[in-house]
Amino acid sequence: TVGAVARDVHGHLAAATSTGGMTAKHVGRVGDTPLIGAGTFADDASCAVSATGHGEFFIRRVVAHSVHARISLLGEPLARAAEVVVMDELRALGGEGGLVAVDRHGHIAMPFNSEGMYRGCVRDDGRCLTAIH
């Protein structure tokens, strides 16, 4: 799975996710990627989220929308909201994976509870940061 989230100079947010799914998946199996609120979500008032991992768990946990809800309803900062959803709530179900997210201020979070997650970010200065494990 691949994905991206962004905040533009006008303060607008967007998210996109794309995947081939799981190797040897059942024909017709759909994961969290195309399910708005599970693997992909964006709202200018809170954050944009793109997720990756064992999709069935992300669907049941409604992961992307949960990050938005914690920011909107609890007033949590992005880093805290994303951390709780991925490291506590998702893991409690047995779900592995992670997400990338950006909030309306341009803060970035990239938590994961798996061994690694191919990831990267860039800001105004153009300096690209990438990591795997």
Partner: protein, 176 residues
């Protein structure tokens, strides 16, 4: 406050650190950096967040190292079934496709669903028909075929045949 920001992922099904060669790690990081630069170029020019995430994801879909688009894994029947979605934070507009078999850059089709249809999610043959109606070209199977993914399918089929379950699959196959 940041003027703009972009973050990407290339999946959580990473090769274990102990077995990832320096050359392979460098290739993955190059792919990630190319995607970041594609999105950064959009944002630098005052482009929208929606255009930036589309550009970044397209770059990753075009890179056979990542499990999407050109590098998509095979399903149990030995075919590709690709899913994609986009969402615009300005108005919560959203578009998605599921089980798309042979269209390049599924994320562009998802965006077209958002922008040119009254729907949010189109699946299977309906998604393919919509893509073709909208001018997207179908690619031959060879475009999406990567030997590494094909071998992974054969190994997974053998494992399932020997009594393994989908839940026991190695992380790089269990995760998108």
């Amino acid at each position: 406050m940041q003027t703009f920001a972009l973050a990407i992922h290339g999946g959580a099904g990473t090769v274990p650190a102990a077995s990832l060669t320096p050359e392979a790690a460098a290739a993955y990081r190059r792919g990630l950096e190319d995607a970041l630069r594609a999105g950064h170029a959009v944002l630098c020019g005052g482009g929208s967040a929606l255009d930036a995430v589309t550009a970044a994801v397209c770059a990753l879909e075009d890179d056979p190292l990542f499990n999407a688009g050109r590098g998509a894994v095979f399903n149990l029947a030995g075919r590709h079934e690709m899913d994609a979605a986009v969402m615009d934070g300005r108005d919560r507009a959203a578009g998605a496709v599921a089980a798309l078999c042979d269209i390049r850059n599924p994320v562009r089709v998802a965006r077209r669903v958002m922008e040119a249809s009254p729907h949010v999610l189109l699946a299977g043959e309906g998604a393919r028909a919509f893509a073709l109606e909208q001018g997207f070209a179908a690619e031959p199977e060879a475009y999406f075929h990567t030997e590494r993914r094909w071998q992974a399918l054969q190994e997974e089929r053998a494992r399932l045949h020997d009594g393994g379950s989908a839940a026991d699959a190695p992380a790089e196959r269990r995760h998108g």
